[in-house]
Each structure stands twice: as C-alpha cells, then as structure tokens.
C-alpha cells in the first residue's frame, strides 16, 4: 500500500478523508458542484447524504467512489491519496475497495445474473472456476441462487438490485456506495433492499455511504450529512 | 537555268493586245538555242544581311516549253552532289526529281504548290517554269527605261484557265535587242517580287543576262544569281536527262 505520505495520526481512524475538496464543471458557464467540502468518514460508519437536486451530493459520491477527480483539495481512501494515482491504479482501488449500488442497477443487459456478478472477478483475472463459485455464493447470499442464468430483463426491480448488490460485494469491499438505491423501486421492495444493506453493515462491517432523497432511508442511517448549494450545511449523528 | 528564267518570265506574261503578244513572241524567238551549259553562283541574302553562296553546274537540252535541265550542286560541302532534273512540258507543269547522295535515292518533287520558295531562294518554283504565251493575256502598258535602256512595258495577266500565285505583272522588254530587262509580279495587286536582268551581253548570238537579281518585297530579301562559263548549242545527249542518269553521280 502506498501510504508513506499519509499523516500518521489520521491513518487508521478515517477510511474516507475529504479535505477542502471543490469541484467545478467547465462549460460555457462554470458550475461549482462542490465548494471546499471537508468530511471524514470512519471505518464501519453508515452515512446518508441528503440535499435537494443540484446540491452536489451525487458529485460528492462520485468523488468518493473515484469515478471522478476533484478540481482542488485532497481525497484519501483508506489512507491513499487518489490524486497521485494513475487511471488504472484508481480503477484497481475502486475494484478492490469500493462497491457501487446504482439507482438504475446498471447491470449489463446482455449478461445473465451470474455473469454480471462475475464481471469484476473476471476483470481482476480470477480463474474461471473460482469466479463461478464466488459468484454463486454471493447470489445465494442475496437469495437469488435460483436465478443464476436469468438475464436482467427477466428479473423484477428488487431482484435486479440484489444482483447489483451481489456484484458490489464480490471483493468484500470495505466501502459500499449507494446512489438512491431505492429510488427506482416500490416502497415494499425499497424497504427490503434497505434491510439488506443494513444486514451488510451489521454482518460484514462494511462502511456504507448512501445518497438519497428518501427521508426514511436517511433516518435509518447512523449519520446524515446535508448538502445545499455545494456546501455541507449539517452533519448529524444519531445514536 | 538563266535562259529558262529569262524565257519563263516572258512566257508567263502573254498578251491580249496583239502587238504586245507579238513583242513577247519575238523576244522568245530571239532567245532560242538547242542547248545550254553554265556554272551558276547563287547568293542568298536574308533580311539580316547574312549571305550564303551556292554553286552548281546547269545543262539544258531541247526547245522552249519541252526542255530538259539537270542541275548539279558543287558547293557548299553539305549539298555537294545534290542534283535536280526538270522536265518541262508545254501543256502541263514540269516534272522534277531530286537526287540526294547522302540518302542514296532520288525523289520526285511533287510541285503542287508552286508558290513555294525554291530551296530558300527568293525565287518561287512558279518563277522557274517555262510557260507558253497562250497561257496569259498581254497588253502594252507604255514605254519606260530600265537601267538607262529604252523598253516596252507590257502588262501580263494570267488566263483564268491557269492558276497562279500572281494576279498580274509587268515585263519590260528592251527595244534595242528584245531582251527582258525587268519583271514585276503582283499578289493581290500588291507588288511581291521584282526581277532585274543585269549585265546583258551577247553570247553566241543570244542576248543573255549574266546576272539576275530577284527581290522579294514582302520578305525584304534578295537573291543574286550569276551565270559563269555560259555556252550555247553544245553537244548533249538525251540519255543524260533521265532519272537513271540523275542517279549517276559525276
């Protein structure tokens, strides 16, 4: 691990360390999506990020997930500064440490459930047999062991999100990022998925960050960070 | 050649007015000889004043209008040995052959365009033809003096039946000896060529010009031809005036 340059005192305590991060989008008109945000998330935390549309919460999630790079400021994931990483190193970091759960599931329509779950494993170059075992194990864990060979189109919304969650978990990533995980589901299914996420937090000790509009989802988390106009306006922790 | 030219201009000028025609006929008659031989020197001066000289030997046999002539060039070196055979016919244009030793063959010169200049001189091929008096109309145009000698000035117009580059011309015939003194030829009523007969002497009873000066007024150039060692009525053989004889270089 490249961590030599990290400050020793902060190294172990914070899994996600965001210091003075800003993000501007250059276009005909420069849009500031995040303005000097400083934020620390501890290992094993379960955080919800709320705020109105355009407040910068998705941008924040993308930066945490290493999908995008900040315009200024520093982001450390597990002590590692992402600014110093190459594209491919960033990808490796993402693959090994971060699981994504999207609102629209983002399953590849031409691949069946097990292939979708296997995707990161294959990309990492695991042997085929081991890949298949691991993928099956995860699908069983999300209670989809009977739907292994189905294409995403043949599944319900909740089932699809379970497949997506299974895919996010293949490497036992310490961080799970969920972008409106229930946004595209009816309330019953949404509650079911939320339950599953809570289980993961409890059982696997994963650090979870959820971006959401849904007040119920936000309330179910230990900590809620509110964003407005690109700035953090509140940071509450409930016990 | 001198006589050929001499006569030919008479020939090309024949008359409508009976007395003019009679004058021309008399001039022709006085020039008659059985044969002729001379050495010619031709100087061609172009408008730039550059002069080139050629030499040849000419032999002629036969009567006016149906004579035969052979010309052999002797100088300069590039043309030495080139020979020309001209067979004149009273009723049609002459037949001409040329022998070029370097190529080793004779060729017929197809003289279809008689206004073509004769090998770079100021004479045209037409100027060298022997013509019968019947082919032109003549009219006495007055009296005049050329080089101090009194002459009849006769206007000549080719008859419609015969094509010519000239539409008319004048000939001056000396009153004292019926020798031609000057010829002017017009193309489209513009004076194109003037021929002067100089050094007219009596050789073996024939009044002959020893120097011909042809001036092309359009090109502004002049050809001077001298006739040396002129002889008349020498013995010549018919056999020497054939294409086969032409090939026999001498």
């Amino acid at each position: 691990m490249k961590c030599a340059r990290a400050k020793p005192g902060l190294l172990s305590s914070y899994l996600i360390d965001i210091a003075g991060v800003s993000k501007q989008f250059q276009g005909k008109r420069t849009v500031t999506a995040l303005d000097s945000v400083t934020l620390r998330i501890e290992r094993g935390d379960m955080v919800s990020i709320v705020g109105p549309s355009g407040s910068g919460k998705s941008t924040l999630l993308n930066l945490i997930g290493g999908l995008d790079r900040p315009s200024s400021g520093e982001i450390r994931i597990d002590g590692q500064a992402i600014a110093a990483l190459s594209d491919d190193d960033l990808t490796r970091l993402r693959r090994d440490k971060i699981g994504f759960i999207f609102q629209f599931f983002n399953l590849l329509p031409s691949l069946n459930c097990i292939e979708n779950v296997s995707l990161p494993l294959h990309l990492k170059g695991w042997p085929r047999k081991k890949v298949r075992e691991r993928a099956r194990q995860l699908l069983e864990m999300v209670q989809l062991g009977h739907r292994v060979d189905h294409l995403p189109d043949e599944l319900s919304g909740g089932e699809r999100q379970r497949v997506a969650i299974a895919r996010a978990l293949v490497f036992d990533a310490p961080i799970l990022l969920a972008d409106e995980p229930t946004g595209n589901l009816d309330s019953a299914t949404g509650a079911e998925i939320l339950g599953l996420i809570h289980d993961l937090h409890r059982n696997l000790g994963a650090t979870i960050v959820i971006v959401t509009h849904d007040a119920d989802v936000a309330r179910s988390c230990i900590r809620t960070i509110a964003l407005r106009d690109a700035k953090v306006v509140s940071d509450e922790r409930r016990l | 050649m001198s006589r050929a030219i001499w006569l030919l201009f008479l020939g090309s000028l024949v008359a409508a007015a009976q007395d003019a025609r009679a004058l021309v006929e008399e001039a022709q008659k006085r020039g008659v000889s059985k044969s002729q031989r001379y050495e010619g020197v031709l100087e061609v001066a172009d408008s730039g004043g550059k002069v080139t000289a050629k030499r040849w030997v000419s032999e002629r046999l036969g009567a006016w209008g149906s004579s035969k002539t052979i010309l052999r060039f002797t100088a300069p070196a590039e043309v030495k040995g080139v020979a020309l055979l001209v067979l004149n016919h009273p009723d049609r244009s002459s037949d001409q052959w040329m022998w070029t030793p370097a190529i080793g063959r004779d060729r017929r010169i197809a003289m279809q365009d008689r206004s073509t200049r004769f090998f770079g001189t100021d004479f045209s091929f037409e100027d060298l033809e022997e013509r019968d008096v019947d082919q032109s109309d003549f009219k006495l145009a007055g009296e005049d003096a050329v080089d101090g000698a009194a002459c009849w000035k006769i206007e000549v117009r080719p008859k419609a039946t015969r094509s010519s580059q000239y539409n008319r011309g004048f000939i001056w015939i000396r009153k004292d000896n019926y020798a031609a003194a000057q010829v002017e030829s017009y193309v489209k009523d513009r004076l194109a060529r003037r021929l002067n007969y100089r050094r007219i002497e009596k050789v073996q009873n024939v009044w002959t010009a020893r120097l011909l000066e042809m001036e092309d007024l359009r090109r502004k150039s002049k050809t001077v031809m001298k006739l040396e060692k002129l002889e008349y009525d020498i013995p010549l053989k018919e056999d020497d005036f054939t294409v086969a004889a032409l090939r026999r270089e001498r």
Partner: protein, 849 residues
C-alpha cells in the same frame, strides 16, 4: 431548409468525424470516377490535339493500317482530279538520349510540298537554316523552340535518337515557334525529311499516310468517295479526326475497369451512408419525437433526412470532384505510359482535359447515391412514433418483420440464380443470375452476420470472458449497426477476391501459353521490349542471322494492328508451319493443331485466337475478312488457339499471305532456335558482335521475354491492388464508423465496466475485439461471395471484355493474405475508438437519462 440548419447541422457538427467518414465513400467513388475518366479523356484529348495540330489544313488522310503502303500510291492519289494537294507522312515516336523527356514524335514529311498543308511557323524569317542542306543531309531535324529550350539545344546542336542502326546523332537545322504544330505531342515534336526517315526507321519505300486537301469546288465527301474507289478497301480514307477512334477503343479498356472501380467505391459509399443514417435515426429518435410532437408531418421528417442525405452527397461529391481532378494528372501519366508500352501509340498528356459534362455527371451520381442511401433511413425516421420516442428508456423497434421478408426474398433470389445457372446460355439470363446472387447476398448479410456473431460469442468469451462476450454482444444486439459495415466489407472483399482470382487464373494460363509457344532460345527484336515499334527489320537480317554459328532456325514474325469488324486487333504473320514444329504440348481450342498450321501455312486459312473467336463468334469455317493495301484478304478460320497476345484478339496468317497482300517483307522480331550444343549467352554475344554499329537490334533471352510478358500482365492487374486498397479503406472507414457509434451506444455499459473495475486496457480490448469480429465476419462472408463472384467475373471477362478463357481457380494465397491485412486494418480502425472509449467521462456515462 430551416430544419436542416437548426436540427441537422448541430448534429453533424457534434459528430464531425463520423460525418466526414460517412461522406468518405462518396468522396472516394466520385474521385475515382472523375480521376480515371479525366485521365482517359486527357490522354485521348492530348492525342486528338496532336492529331489536330499535325493535321494542319489536311482535309483527308489516306492510310492502310500500321503496315504503311508503297510510295507509288502517292502518285496515284496526287493524280486524282479531286485532289488539290497530297503529301506523304511517316509518324514515329522515338526514344531520345535525353533524360526524362519521354519520346520524341517524329513527323517525317516531304518539305518540298508539305507547306501547302501545314503551317510551319519557323523561328526567324528563314525556314530552316538552309532548305537544301536540310534535304541533302539525312541527319536534319527541326524541333520546336519549346523542346529546344527545355533541353538546352540550339541550331546546329546535336541530338541523339534511336534509329534502325542504333543510336545516331542528328543535327538541329531549324526551330519552330511554340504553338500550333510545334505544340503537338506536348511540344516533343521533330520534323524530319520523309526519305531520310524511311531509311532511319527501316520503312523501305513506304509511307504511313498521305495527308491531302481537296480541290476547290469539290466536297470532301466526293473526294473521299473517289479515293476509296481508286484505292480499294485496304485503305482508309477519312478526316484526320477519325484517327482518334482507334485510339479511343484502346483507351476504352481502361474506362471499363475504372468505371468498375468507381461504381464499386460508390456502392460501398452507399452502404456507409445507409449505415450512418440508420444509426442517426435510432440515436435521434427522441429529437424526431419532439419534432413530430411539435407538429412536423411524417413527410417533413422524411424530407429532412433525405435533405441530409443530399447535403452529405453534395459535400462528398464536391470533395470527390476536387480529389478526382487532383489525381487525374498522375493517372493520366500512368495510362499514357501503359499505352506506349503496349500499343506504341505514345501520347504526352501534360495538361488535364476537364470535361464539365463529366464533372456534372459525377456530381449527380454522387448526390443520387447519397440520397438513395438515405431513403430507407428517412422512411424509418418518418415512421417514428412520437409517444414511444419520448418515453424514457423505451426503444421502438423499427425494423420488426423486415428480417423475415428479407430472408424470403433472398431465398427466392438464390432459387432464381440457380435456375439461371441450369438454364445457362444467353447473356440476359446470365446477368439476371449474377444480379440475383449479389442482391440475395446483400439481403442475407444481416441474418448471416447475426448468426455468425452468435457463433463467435463462445469463442470470444473463451479468449476473454468479459471483453470477448461484450464484444460479441455488441454485434448481436445492434445488427443494424454492424451489418451495413459487414456488407460493405463483404462486397469489397468479394471484388478483391474476384480480381485476384482473375489475375491468378490469367497468370497460370499465360504462363502455360508462354511455355508452350514462347520457347525459342533467343528473340532478336528492334526494341528493348515487345511493345512500341517504330522500326522494322528488313528481311535480309533473317539470312544474316541464320549464317551465325550456333543458330539452327530463324523465324521472322511481323505483327501489326489491323481493323477487324471495327476493332483494332493484332495480326501476326509468321512461318506458321515452322512455329508449329517447335511448339511444345500443342493444344488447340478448335481444329487439329498440325493440320491448322499446315493449311494456314499454305495460305488456305487463318488461325485465330480464342478470345477473338469468343468476341466475334467465330468458329471453324467462319470467314475472316481483313482489308489490306493489296485488297481484301478473305480466309476461312482453320483453327482456334488459346493465345494471349492481345486483349482485343489476334489473327495468325502465314508470311507468304502477308507478303502478297501487304507487299511488306519487313520483320519485327526473329525467333531464334539454337543448335543443341550452343550456349544462348555466347550466341547472343555473336549476334551483337555481328551487327554492332550496323544495326539497332536487341537480343533477348527467353526468360527476358517471359519476364516482360509477366510484367505487362502485372501492370494490367495493378487494378487489383487498387481494389485491395479500396477494400482496406472500406474496412477502416466502416469499422471506425461502426465503432464510433458503438461506443456512443454503449457508453453506459462501458461506464459500468470501468466503474466495477475494468482497466483501460480491458476496455480497449473489448472495442478491438468487436472490430476484429466485424472484420472476421466480413472476411468469411467476403470469401464466400468472392468465390461466387469470381465465377461470374471470369464469365464476364470471357463473354464481354476480352474473350480470354481462363480456368476457375480460387486465389487461396491472396485470400490468406487478406486475413492479416483486413484484421490489421480493423485493428487500426479500432485504435481511435478504443482511446475515445477510455477517455470518455465516467460520470457522464453513468448519469441517468
């Protein structure tokens, strides 16, 4: 119009590269069409200009084909009362010792009479320095001022030229002013005395031509009729312009192949445009939905897309016109070079003749192709349902049911084609069959490429579990995106394979022919090559050769171009019995080999080449009729041979017959057989020694001749390389296009892949694999169609182009070569889209619609 500006232009600008690639096919097609035709016309134009300039005031020309005619004809023509002036001419392109000057056209005339017809605009006042010297010295030459200046020559300068007797030095004795006559043949014109030329070029006492003007009061037609009556059918009497027509029929061969190439490029352009537009319609269905919702009628939408097609066509065609004119110059050099090599009718074409009519045509064809290609997509666009189009994430399937209809149609066409094949025979049936099979293959391609993509999936997945599977899926899920490119690839490869097949088969047949008949040990020729003949040997050389130690047999061959049923074919006169004796593995297409040579040798018949027989439907017993200076030669066909001497056909007659009708005992080439003990090298040396300094001759070894013929064949098939280049271009264009669209369509998919951990290399791999898969499918289908196409192309060549019969042989080597070439092209094409995929923003890719 307003829609075009508001809606289409921003889209085109946004997808600038794709827009450019889309029109590239049109650009290529129009450029090839304009380039080749302009080149051909330029060469033809230059030829006609030369003819014109040389003609002067000539009203009629008398000629007797290539052989020339006896001098005495001139006197007969001159004696004709309708003729005012008639002068002899010999014309010959000759090599000079000057580097990079090409040939010098010698116009040999009789200066004593020629100026009545031609205006020699001489420098200075004087004709030639001295006309008498000009005639007296056979080394005299008059050149144009332009040529003199180009080569630093002045009056009295020496100039070396090839003659009968080897290179000789000539003296410049006159200069012509630039313009008019002096500008003929690009200024490379020299005037010479005709009798000197006869000697220098070994023409004997013959002229090539008589130029004449008619007498006043006589019409050209009257004079022509009178002369035709006087001279008989062996002579051609016509206005100077008619000389162009023979040249034209030679150039036409090039026109056919160039027309094929450009049609082919346009055809491919059609597919590329169709492809791009279909994709654009899919991508822009939302936009179309909005327009429809805002009140645009179906007709309006259709017209919008048709206008886009027209706009693409206009831009592409304009660019094509420009490119075509640019390449025309180089092409015209190539064409004139080839003409000199093969037909010895040299022409310098330094200026390009641009024909506005041709440009207009090319433009119209380019635009029409583009509009035609956009027709189906425009119709689809018009059918877009506004409600469905505006709904999120719902994809209206626009082509449902089309596939089945297409397949049925294809099956029907295949049946028609099979029926045509069994029926065989007539030309329309044959072409209907050909057409059906091509259209059937076009209709089948989408289904076939889909099936093949499905079949490929496991293999690709086995290679790379994710990248491979996704590459295959990309093809399977968007057949429309892929199939047009596959079709274009298939067509171009089918063409490449057919051309290569033709070349390979021709090679084999030609080599076989060379081995069987070109077996003399040495050839003694007037030239370094078998083409371009300005010189002929007198017959006596044959005897002199025979006397050389080591030589057993000498056979003289005279070849000349004659007109047979309106086309310029090759007439070969030789000692046929002698040649028959030496032929190895004699084989006849019709008739008995020995017997036909015996009969022809006795003057009782002619042997014809198979291609002539094919093209003119000749068989044993048919009568061939050739006009000659000595009258019309009529001979029965006593045999048909496979012979590749000439594209347009060859007739063989015996030397005795030629001598009788053409009164010409000159020889172009001596076939020399050596005694068993003699070495070719040594005898070659002896021959050169014997004639050194005395005669211009070239002794060629058997292998040199064969190499020359093979090289010539190569030049003819240079077109094959052009086709391969076009195929590569198509592959690159089509694949870049398809992939550009593909990465656009799969943006989200690629984003997900990257989000869950695909490294840049892995993303690139999936794009590359998709490209390779497209190329692979195109290759397989192209080879299949190529095999069929070759069958038909061989028949077309045989029936309608040159009548040459060559056996079917699939070009395995060339096809094998195509595999790496096409895969490499595909890979090359995938590089940029691969990078684009890696560089694209992840966040945007994952954003919700």
């Amino acid at each position: 119009m307003i829609l075009l500006r508001l809606i289409s232009w921003p889209y085109a600008r946004k997808h600038l590269l794709r827009s450019i690639l889309t029109t590239a096919g049109i650009v290529l097609g129009v450029a090839l069409f304009v380039g080749m035709h302009t080149a051909n016309r330029s060469v033809l134009g230059a030829f006609n200009r030369t003819v014109d300039r040389i003609a002067g005031s000539t009203e009629l020309q008398v000629s007797a084909g290539e052989s020339g005619f006896d001098e005495e004809i001139l006197e007969r023509v001159q004696a004709q009362p309708e003729v005012r002036i008639a002068v002899p001419v010999i014309e010959a392109p000759v090599e000079t010792g000057l580097k990079g000057q090409g040939n010098l056209l010698i116009l040999a005339v009789d200066m004593t009479g020629d100026r009545g017809l031609r205006n020699y605009d001489f420098e200075g006042d004087d004709v030639i320095d001295d006309p008498l010297v000009f005639l007296a010295q056979p080394d005299s030459l008059i050149v144009s001022r332009e040529f003199a200046d180009r080569n630093g020559l002045r009056l009295q300068s020496k100039l070396s030229m090839s003659t009968m007797n080897g290179p000789r030095r000539f003296t410049i004795r006159g200069l012509m002013k630039t313009g008019g006559l002096a500008s003929a043949f690009g200024g490379n014109l020299a005037i010479m005395d005709i009798y000197a030329a006869q000697q220098v070029f070994g023409r004997g006492r013959k002229f090539d031509r008589i130029d004449l003007a008619v007498k006043e009061g006589v019409t050209v037609e009257q004079c022509r009729a009178a002369l035709e009556k006087l001279l008989g059918p062996g002579f051609e009497v016509g206005p100077p312009g008619s000389r162009g027509s023979q040249f034209e029929s030679i150039v036409k061969v090039f026109s056919i192949s160039s027309a094929m190439s450009s049609a082919f490029a346009l055809f491919i352009g059609l597919f590329i445009i169709y492809n791009s537009f279909s994709i654009a319609v899919t991508e822009r269905r939302k936009e179309i939905g909005i327009l429809r919702a805002l009140g645009a009628t179906r007709g309006r939408i259709r017209n919008l897309f048709l206008s886009e097609g027209a706009a693409a066509g206009i831009f592409g065609s304009l660019a094509g016109l420009a490119a075509g004119v640019l390449i025309a110059k180089g092409l015209s050099r190539y064409v004139s070079g080839l003409l000199v090599d093969i037909y010895s009718v040299g022409e310098r074409s330094d200026e390009i003749t641009i024909d506005p009519g041709l440009l207009a045509w090319a433009f119209a064809i380019g635009v029409a192709t583009s509009v035609l290609a956009s027709f189906l997509p425009a119709r689809s666009a018009a059918r877009v349902d506004p409600v469905q189009a505006l709904q999120k994430g719902r994809l209206q399937v626009l082509s449902a049911g089309e596939n089945r209809i297409r397949r049925w149609l294809a099956v029907t066409l295949v049946a028609i084609c099979a029926a045509c094949l069994t029926l065989g025979g007539s030309r329309p049936v044959f072409y209907v069959g050909f057409f059906s099979v091509i259209v059937a293959s076009l209709l089948f391609t989408p289904s076939l490429s889909l099936w093949m993509a499905r079949a490929l999936r496991p293999a690709l997945q086995w290679m790379r579990p994710i990248e491979g599977a996704l590459a295959a899926d990309s093809l399977i899920q968007a057949p429309r995106r892929t199939s047009a490119t596959v079709t274009a690839l298939m067509m171009s490869l089918a063409m490449v394979i057919a051309f290569n097949g033709l070349a390979v088969a021709s090679y084999d047949s030609i080599v076989e022919w060379l081995d069987s008949t070109f077996n003399p040990d040495l050839f003694v020729n007037t030239n370094r090559t078998l083409g371009a003949r300005s010189f002929h040997f007198p017959a006596v050389i044959g005897e002199q050769l025979s006397a050389i130690d080591g030589i057993q047999t000498v056979q003289g061959v005279r070849t000349l171009r004659v007109t047979f049923r309106g086309t310029p074919i090759l007439l070969v006169s030789a000692d046929l019995r002698g040649i028959a004796r030496h032929t190895v593995n004699p084989r006849a297409v019709a008739g008995d080999y020995r017997e036909m040579h015996r009969l022809a040798g006795e003057g009782k018949g002619a042997v014809v080449a198979e291609n002539l027989a094919m093209l003119h439907k000749l068989g044993l017993g048919s009568e061939v009729e050739i006009a000659s200076p000595g009258g019309v030669l009529r001979l029965p066909v006593v045999g048909v041979l496979r012979d590749f001497s000439d594209q347009l056909g060859t007739i063989f007659i015996d030397t005795s017959v030629y001598l009788k009708y053409w009164n010409d005992d000159t020889v172009d080439i001596f076939r020399v057989y050596l005694k068993k003990s003699a070495s070719a090298e040594i005898v070659k040396g002896r021959i050169q020694e014997r004639f050194a300094g005395e005669r211009r001759l070239f002794v060629l070894m058997n292998t040199e001749i064969k190499d020359y013929v093979i090289r010539l064949t190569d030049q003819w098939f240079a077109m094959t390389h052009v086709q391969t280049a076009v195929a590569v271009l198509v592959a690159i264009l089509g694949i870049v296009n398809t992939l550009t669209v593909s990465i656009g369509d799969r943006r989200r998919e690629i984003g997900v892949l990257r989000a869950v951990g695909a490294l840049n290399a892995q993303v690139r791999h999936t794009i590359w694999m998709e490209a390779l898969a497209v190329a692979f499918i195109g290759l397989v289908l192209g080879m299949l169609l190529g095999a069929v196409n070759l069958y038909y192309q061989l028949d077309i060549v045989q029936r309608d182009i040159s009548g040459l019969v060559v056996a079917y042989r699939f070009p395995f080597m060339a096809s094998l070569w195509l595999v790496p070439v096409m895969l490499a092209s595909a890979f090359l094409a995938a590089l940029w889209p691969g990078e684009a995929a890696v560089r694209s923003s992840l966040v945007e890719a994952l954003e919700y619609e």
